[in-house]
Structures are given as structure tokens and as C-alpha cells.
């Protein structure tokens, strides 16, 4: 058998449990070919399952290790790793969770997994400087409307119709949280970012979520303020902006260049 055929069949045997002709090529020596191949299958599934439980620790704790591991086995088969770097594995787990009818008892689990994944990404993301609010002083107030922000590469936001921050806080507090969150209460938004002291998950109001979303789309500060006030005319923009800078997630500020027609 040619090497390419051998590798394809070995992979099918591992992932699909198919009885391929690879079995006829394995020296038995006391063991069945199937048993020898299953050593590899066990190693592979153990490595990939452990990778997922390490990357999604909060989701895993929420559903319990046994349930998480059986879910992981299905995920591994349906979303096989496509990178030689294990840290890339698990990107589609949040959407996979959302699509699983067996998980209807955990309607918030997909958002929780998204936060886990964002924390993992934030941990490994490139470092960048953090500006504080005084950096706005470098610009003339006449330009404020036209300012555009670049964010720290670790930043990620998650919006859920469930009280996702309270659930996250409960799941990560090792039982020290005061109350069990009521999943029927209002939805929440979280901001995930990495600061000098590590990866943070913070609860943000919907208006700030909107501000960050708009600025990340490279809309100007003026346009962002307008869309935020559309959401809530009473919102205190100055306080929101202060809070945004206090997270240390703004890394550069520029003035949008007007397009000059000649």
C-alpha cells in the first residue's frame, strides 16, 4: 500500500472507526490489529478532549466533565482539527453547542463557550499599548467628532439574551457567588480583554457594548455617539468613554482623514 493511502485509511480508522484494510497491514504479535490501532485512537481522543476542556474550563465546569467529554468526542469527529497548533482547536465549539438539541437545558452555554474561547484568544494575542483618557488631550476638541480608535488585539465582546456575566461569575466563583443566577433575568454583555494582570471578563452595559462595536467597525466617535444615543438618549457618553479607557483597551487614536475631491 502506498503511504498516502495508508495515511488516509489510518485516519478513517481512527476517526470513523471504520474497518479499513489498514488492519491487514498491522503486525499482530499477541494483540489484534484493532487493539493496537485503538491505542492511537485513545491517545488522540484524550489529547483533543483535554485540549478542549483546557480551553473551555468554565463551560466544562458548567455541564460537568463527563457530559463535556462526551460532547467533545462528537465535536472532534464533526470538526476535525485543521492546524498543527493545538491552540487553534475549538473555534467552532460555541456554534456547535448552539446547534445541539441535547443542550437545550443549557441555552446560555454557547455564549459561555464564546467567552471561554475569547479568554483563550486574549491570553495568546499580541501585546499592544494601552492609552488612558488623557490621550484625548493630544487632539483638538474640534477633531473629537472625527476620532477613530484602534483596540487592543485581545478585545472581544459577547452579547447574550441571558444574564451571561452573572452566569460566568457564578461558574468561576467556586460556589462563592451569593446567589444562583436566574436565567430568566435580563440579558447581559461582557467585554473580554487582557491587561497587565491577565485576562479579564467584565460586565458592560448595552450602550457601552454598542459604542465598542461601532468604534471597532472604524466608525468615528461622532457617529458612535449618535448611534449610542439612538439606543438610549439618557446615556452618559462621557462616563461610558471614561469606563472604556479605564479598561486599557484603546491602543491608538487617529483623526479620520476627510476625502478631498480635486
Amino acid at each position: 500500500m502506498q503511504l498516502r493511502e495508508l495515511q488516509s485509511q489510518f485516519s478513517a480508522e481512527i476517526l470513523c472507526g471504520e474497518n479499513t484494510s489498514i488492519q491487514t497491514l498491522v503486525e499482530q504479535r499477541g494483540f489484534q490489529a484493532k487493539q493496537r490501532i485503538s491505542v492511537y485512537r485513545n491517545n488522540i481522543f484524550a489529547t483533543l478532549t483535554e485540549t478542549l476542556s483546557n480551553i473551555f474550563p468554565v463551560s466544562c465546569a458548567m455541564v460537568g466533565e463527563e457530559f463535556f467529554n462526551s460532547m467533545a468526542r462528537i465535536y472532534i469527529r464533526s470538526h476535525t482539527p485543521d492546524s498543527g497548533n493545538l491552540h487553534d482547536f475549538g473555534e467552532h465549539l460555541p456554534s456547535f453547542i448552539e446547534s445541539m438539541p441535547e443542550l437545550s437545558n443549557y441555552p446560555y452555554l454557547s455564549a459561555l463557550a464564546e467567552i471561554d474561547w475569547a479568554c483563550h484568544q486574549a491570553f495568546h494575542s499580541v501585546s499592544a499599548t494601552a492609552l488612558d483618557i488623557s490621550s484625548l488631550g493630544d487632539f483638538s476638541p474640534d477633531n473629537y467628532e472625527d476620532l477613530q480608535f484602534e483596540f487592543h488585539p485581545s478585545i472581544h465582546t459577547v452579547k447574550s439574551k441571558y444574564p451571561i456575566f452573572d452566569i460566568w461569575d457564578f461558574a468561576t466563583s467556586n460556589g462563592h457567588a451569593d446567589t444562583i443566577p436566574n436565567i430568566k433575568s435580563e440579558g447581559q454583555q461582557v467585554l473580554i480583554h487582557r491587561s497587565k494582570s491577565g485576562v479579564k471578563v467584565v460586565n458592560i452595559e448595552d450602550e457601552l457594548f454598542q459604542m465598542i462595536k461601532s468604534l471597532r467597525e472604524h466608525k468615528t466617535l461622532g457617529a458612535t455617539f449618535t448611534s449610542t444615543l439612538d439606543l438610549n438618549p439618557e446615556y452618559n457618553l462621557k462616563e461610558g468613554l471614561n469606563r472604556l479607557f479605564s479598561f486599557g483597551v484603546v491602543s491608538t487614536i487617529t483623526v479620520k482623514r476627510s476625502i478631498v475631491h480635486q
Partner: protein, 283 residues
Amino acid sequence: MVTHPIPADSVGIGLRGDHCEYVAVNKPSVDWFEIHSENYFGQGGAPHDWLRQIRQDYNLSFHGVGLSLGSTDDLNVKHLERLKELIHIYEPGLVSEHLSWSSIDGIYLHDLLPLPFTKETIVHLASRIERVQDMLGRTILVENASTYLEFSHSEMSEWEFINEITRLSGCQLLLDINNVYVNACNHQFDPIEFFSKISPSVVGEIHLAGHTVKNLPEGTIRIDTHDQRVCDDVWHLYEAVANRFHAAPTLIEWDKELPEFSVLMDEANIARSYRQEMQSAAA
């Protein structure tokens, strides 16, 4: 930054994430550290902050587990380019990979999978190694893998296979003594004969690690788990071949069920004492 090559009589330790802070802060007396290259494929954050700090005081070896050298897929150039960037940043003394495959049809199984010892495999693998060496602009080491099965259409022994690969590609061998022992037990050959067939001039590094013995009704199978101390039989083999492979530095590997750092220091000291015994016997 320490720039001299990793000395022949030195003993390094495999560095894992959980020990980085301890090492960076306490600067323990260790000759050098080996990291898994892929653990630093991320662009920043704590892993790189610690490694930069550690690199100030120690030489490094980069040990890859994800390049899938033996795969018949196209070489993963993106993976290799990231490795090259990291080599440029950290200037490791050694760069190594495995004599195995881990991916096919774009699917990565993330295990060191066995290859048939055939002429076809040799031609394929040697040309892949040559390409990697050309792209990296340096000689790499390839490690003999632990295996749990052998292919009946193999045309030669593992050592003949290894010797052909190193001869054709010009790469060096990372001789894992534990893996030779695991294979010798699993496939019933004499490990001493294996070592006698490997030319000392191609061995650029030695690995030592612990493995797991799995007893099944049909017999015993040894699995390369890297989750415990080096076993006595492997230490005896190390002692037996220390003289033959005296030009290669030694590494203690431990990947799972990571113990206190002092346990790894202890294992490194045992390796060092075998080396010193060998040297004083020779003097």
C-alpha cells in the same frame, strides 16, 4: 542573550507553561531548556513574556510536535514560517521534530503516528526534511518515535530506516532512549543492538522520559506518556550508551501530571551523575 551552542555534556529540562514563572523568577541551576515550539505560535501574552525573560539566562531548544514531517499532504508552509519567525526571535541552539506523521487530507490528529519503514517513506521523508532545512536555513534533528504497532510491509528495521533518513537528508538524530526501550518491549527487539547500529556522529541530542506500562489480558504494551520518572531500565540503557553518544546533550522530558520543578531537577541530576561517572571512568 546566551548564544553559544548547547554543550555536549549538558543536561536540559523540558519547560512547560506551569513552570515558566518559577524558572524566570528563581533562575534554577539548569543547563538549558527545551520548549514545544507550537506553545509559542501565539503572538504575545504571558508565554512570550516569560520566554523572553528566560532566554536572557538560558539557551533554548525548540522541539516541534505539529509539523507532520511524514505526512503525504503538502508541507504546511504557514506552520514552518511561524517556526522560522520564532527561531529568529529566540535563536535556539537546537531545532527538532519527529520521525512520524500527524495529519492527512488537512486533518490534524495531533499524535506522533507510525510510518512503514519502506523505501517510499524514506524518499518522501528525506526530501521533506531537506525542504524544511532549506527553508529554515539550518540542520534540524528528528526524533525516533514510540510506536504501538508495526506495519507488515516494512522493508527494513527501524535503525536502518533512521540511518537512511539521516544519510539522505543530512539531518541529525534526536535519540530518545525511552522511545527505543518502549519500541524494543512493544516489538521485541534488542535495544542495545539498536544503539550499536546508530552512528554516534549523527546523534545531536538525547531524550529521557517516563512511560506507562499497560497490562492487558493479551500482554503488556508500553505507552510513551511522559507523565512520570524515567524508569530503571531506561536509566540502565542511558548508562550503557552514555559513552557511545557522549557528544550529545541530554534532555529530561515531562509533559503530563507535571510535578514540582524540583523533581525535574532531580531527574536532570541523575542524568548528570551518569555522565560524570562515565567521564571519570574514561579518565
